[in-house]
């Protein structure tokens, strides 16, 4: 019988592509619709932040951390400040910690809104979920603008606390935003998680088992989607997270659908945390004074934060000088991509896009 020989055919899901969430390229070798081999090409947005940081003082590096993962600048600032505070042994006043928790959780809500909207858009829901999620995200960005003056790269946290105190009308405004959120999440739940076509498109796509996820050091919704109950806010509480009561959502079979519902559930938990933090907001100073040209003692420190995309770590080595000797960021999006090839090979091109959407990458963080 003559065997039909179809030659494989390389398609660039390239840097300019509506659903690669930034300048990121997958060179997919495709046989018909089936993906045989997927190779990642990245580095288009590499600004060598780690080299620049070695030339700036500790406080001057804070704006860099905003720009690595431009969708969650508050968590990035928090991670870096925790690392330097651990290195220099600086105590943060309780009000500073509470404000940091509120800001980090608000940032998680905004980032997950973006992630869920973009993911639904990748499965083809023609911009409707994106518009809904961006409508809510706008309210949170207004809160950021009210406190830190900027919407996206807030540069709000300082070593030893936060830059400015909360404005008077922040707490009522924040409560108003938070009250609407559970209703909005149920609305999204109705539109997407119970939508047969959405389930058909995302169930069983890009499956990772728990052992695979742990071995590939994935983190965040990727890890929790595969059934591993691991959340830095619970395992290694920082900024007083142990005072707040919240749960960790855990998926079962580690496919794109589970990662989606884990993110949706995490938004509900973040709302709970913010409510508790707003209720128990302590008074007092919001920052301990730290000299501008801070010279922490010689040594190294690794601090980690549960960012929206996973475990966001900062490894800072100081040689006693004004600028860090070595500044390394543990980028969750970058490491979450290590299994991309195993997840996409075998599926169709459409599945590869859905898998990429479920990993929820931010190219600024991948290329640093």
């Amino acid at each position: 019988m003559t065997e039909i020989r179809s030659e494989p055919f390389v398609v660039n899901i390239g840097p300019q592509h509506p659903s690669t969430h930034g300048v990121f390229r997958i060179k997919a070798t495709v046989d018909g619709e089936r993906v045989i081999d997927a190779e990642m090409v990245m580095g288009y947005l590499h600004r060598s932040i780690e080299k620049l940081a070695e030339e700036r003082t500790y406080t001057q590096n804070i704006p860099f951390t905003d720009r690595t993962d431009y969708l969650s600048s508050m968590s990035n600032n928090l991670g870096y400040c925790l690392a330097v505070e651990k290195l220099a042994g600086i105590e943060v006043p309780p009000r500073g910690n509470a404000i940091r928790v509120i800001m980090a959780e608000l940032q998680r809500l905004a980032s997950h809104c973006m992630a869920i909207g973009a993911f639904a858009n990748d499965t083809g829901a023609w911009q409707t979920p994106v518009m809904w999620t961006f409508r809510e995200r706008e309210r949170i960005l207004d809160l950021f603008e009210m406190t830190s003056g900027a919407r996206l790269t807030c540069n709000y946290m300082r070593i030893g606390g936060v830059a400015f105190d909360l404005p008077k009308d922040f707490v009522p405004a924040c409560r108003k935003v938070i009250e609407r959120f559970p209703a909005f999440i149920d609305e999204l739940h109705g539109l997407l998680s119970e939508n047969e076509i959405f389930i058909a498109r995302t169930k069983g796509i890009g499956v990772i088992t728990a052992e695979q996820a742990i071995n590939a050091s994935l983190s965040g919704p990727m890890l929790r989607g595969s059934g591993v109950a691991w959340d830095i806010r619970k395992a290694d509480p920082y900024c007083g997270y142990e005072q707040y009561d919240f749960d960790i959502p855990v998926g079962e079979n580690g496919d794109s659908y589970d990662r989606f519902i884990v993110r949706l559930e995490e938004m509900r938990q973040s709302v709970r945390i913010i409510e508790q933090a707003l209720d128990g907001l302590p008074g007092g100073p919001f920052r301990t004074e730290v000299p501008l040209a801070l010279r922490p003692p010689k040594g190294e420190a690794y601090a980690r934060v549960e960012g929206p995309r996973g475990e966001l770590g900062y490894y800072v080595v100081s040689d006693g000088g004004p600028s860090p000797f070595r500044f390394h960021i543990r980028p969750p999006s970058f490491i979450n991509l290590s299994l991309l090839k195993e997840m996409t090979v075998g599926g169709t091109v459409a599945d590869a896009i859905v898998v990429l959407g479920s990993i929820d990458i931010v190219v600024g963080e991948i290329d640093r």
Partner: protein, 172 residues
């Protein structure tokens, strides 16, 4: 044939279109253009059916030939590796010319020789009668054709089965 100046104009126009596109099929270098000219020829023939007021036949012609067969031919061309390259002059052209001229002669003789039974009244065949005719007197060829098509379908599926499925069959 409906009388009147309009249909006459239409007839000459359509025949010109069909002949030109048939010529185009042979002459065009690019295989893809050849198939497109063929589609144009099919549409021309459908126009002839309309002129003979056999609407159902014209519509069937477009649905079957343009809608299915031409599209499958396009698929075949797209999937074969050397599609789109020009079909070079092959030495086969000379004998092909003789065969073509011979065939044309036979056809012209046949057309000239038979006296076309000019039926008295303009016999308009409606789709309903066509259906009854097809399943009435001509039911045997109709069934044979359907059996043939099913066999072709099964053959096509067997042909395209990927090697793994074949191996799986051998193991069972």
């Amino acid at each position: 044939m409906i009388e009147g100046t309009g249909p006459a104009l239409a007839f000459w126009g359509l025949s010109a279109l069909t002949l030109v596109s048939a010529g185009g099929v042979i002459v065009s270098r690019n295989l893809f253009h050849a198939v497109l000219f063929l589609v144009l020829a099919f549409i021309g023939i459908a126009g002839f059916f309309l002129l003979l007021s056999a609407e159902f036949l014209a519509m069937a012609q477009i649905v079957i030939y343009v809608g299915a067969i031409a599209v499958l031919m396009l698929y075949a061309i797209v999937l074969t590796p050397r599609a789109g390259r020009d079909n070079r002059e092959t030495w086969m052209a000379v004998p092909a010319l003789f065969v073509a001229v011979g065939l044309a002669a036979v056809l012209l003789f046949a057309i000239h020789d038979t006296d076309w039974a000019k039926s008295a009244r303009a016999y308009v065949l409606s789709a309903g009668e066509l259906g009854r005719e097809l399943l009435g007197t001509w039911v045997l060829p109709f069934q044979l054709a359907s059996v043939l098509l099913t066999a072709a379908l099964v053959g096509a599926v067997m042909l395209v089965r990927s090697p793994e499925e074949e191996r799986k069959e051998e193991e069972e």
